[in-house]
Subunit: 307 residues, 2 copies
Amino acid sequence: MPDDALVLAVDVGGGTIKAEIADGQAETLSSAAWPTPPAESAVEAIAQLGRSLIEQVEVAGGGQVSRAGLVIPGLVDREQGRGVYSGNIGWRQLDFRTALEDAWGVPVLLDHDVTIAGWAEWQVGAGRGCDDMFFVSLGTGVAAAIVACGCLLRGGLSQCGEFGHVVVRPGGPECSCGSSGCLEAVSSASAIARAYTASSGQSVSGAADVLDAMPVDPLAVRVWEEAMSALADGLVGVANLLSPERIVLGGGLAASGDALVEPLRQAVAERVKIVPVPDIVPAQFGRRAGVVGAALLARRGGTGTDD
Amino acid sequence: MPDDALVLAVDVGGGTIKAEIADGQAETLSSAAWPTPPAESAVEAIAQLGRSLIEQVEVAGGGQVSRAGLVIPGLVDREQGRGVYSGNIGWRQLDFRTALEDAWGVPVLLDHDVTIAGWAEWQVGAGRGCDDMFFVSLGTGVAAAIVACGCLLRGGLSQCGEFGHVVVRPGGPECSCGSSGCLEAVSSASAIARAYTASSGQSVSGAADVLDAMPVDPLAVRVWEEAMSALADGLVGVANLLSPERIVLGGGLAASGDALVEPLRQAVAERVKIVPVPDIVPAQFGRRAGVVGAALLARRGGTGTDD
């Protein structure tokens, strides 16, 4: 691909589809965010969103899009360009690539959202230069991308990185997966909001409300601290197993800044006994990591470590 | 190295040093096992043990040893050929390579015992053909070797694979590392023996006694089941994080056969919700995996995936 070619990048989230057209310097020429529609109209909505961006840029004389990268949640068949399964959005065996290549007239690469967000942080973000890095996406769900020995891990039987379903509190809160005490059931943004509502009787719109209440509400402090403590236990397990140089915290919850990073740093430093303490840093691209990664995927024509 | 060259392989364990001389078909020409001496005389004892095997084989006209592989516990500096630290045996910064190359007159490769045991199972044993494999050594301690995306992982800040210090029972039994509820403090052979003694008041010589008592002693059954349940939780975490095709169970406890493998298979199959259930199999080389790996290391001149 020539250096000045444009790419279309799309990140399909549970609530929002983000799309942008980026140039060779990774500058955004045009971007949009639409609410994620139900599974049955997902492909058509994504096709339209991409088409509208391509047209805008062409009308403005910005140039031609040469390739597209699409990242989606759930299980992904990268070879076939299919969304195999997404519990959140509800699709099964959805053929994204054929439909989108027809709609956009360019080759489309499909990959997994969190894996690619972590890959982007590794390649050009907060994990740059590390051969062993662990990226955690903390939001409604919790998942990870793992770089070890300079390889982006993909998993054997399935996509790897289901960090949210590591049990950190045996016998703890029920998880949507059917197990209990999973990290996602204790430390995700939604779990924090649920725990606060369950203890206080007050409904909150999300983990950000709990964080905002901390200066004046000891219950909010306790709920937050318990979530961070369980997350620290999960990260201590990762440090013992993989001994990454750096842990990069991404996803929506990473916007909490020091309230997230500081207690984790402290708890991990206290609890890691055998291995050295890994560096814990916030992600560089925040919620944009998925779309940044989708653009990089399109520009490079793959992640290069597994294709 | 010519195909018919001999190698000397040494596995330094907490209780025993095993050594053997193997030919190009991995047949053992000569072997010996000595009790592990204190740290201050470890190098001299290993030197003597190796020298005696080399002499035996030469006297018998078996041929010449061309290279040696030595695997040791604790932290290892492979580049410098030093044992950095072993809590169990008690050494710090022990220069094995210089002393042993002097004593044996051949190049010596040094590496970590569990990593190399797992590497041997991956290359020529029960993990053969898997690009994603998790090897667990279950004995006095618990540790792992990880193969992911066809790479033998080494870890970033430290040797990876400290599976024994993943916390599976928060607030559980104290661990020698200073933490509590570590897998090693609940599911290792020594932890099983300790838990049985603590509940029954009867002292036992090891986990094998607990296993033997199971047909007639409900307390032994309970202690064993709790250890297996905690180990299953640890393996479920690994399945979620790495999604290995196969989990290979090695170390002394793996000699327990079905009593080990069956409850683990069942518990992991029940508790893994998101990812497919990995295959769980006993190691092919059992307690010999370390020395088999040391011989392979010497023959190949390294593990090839990281050198």
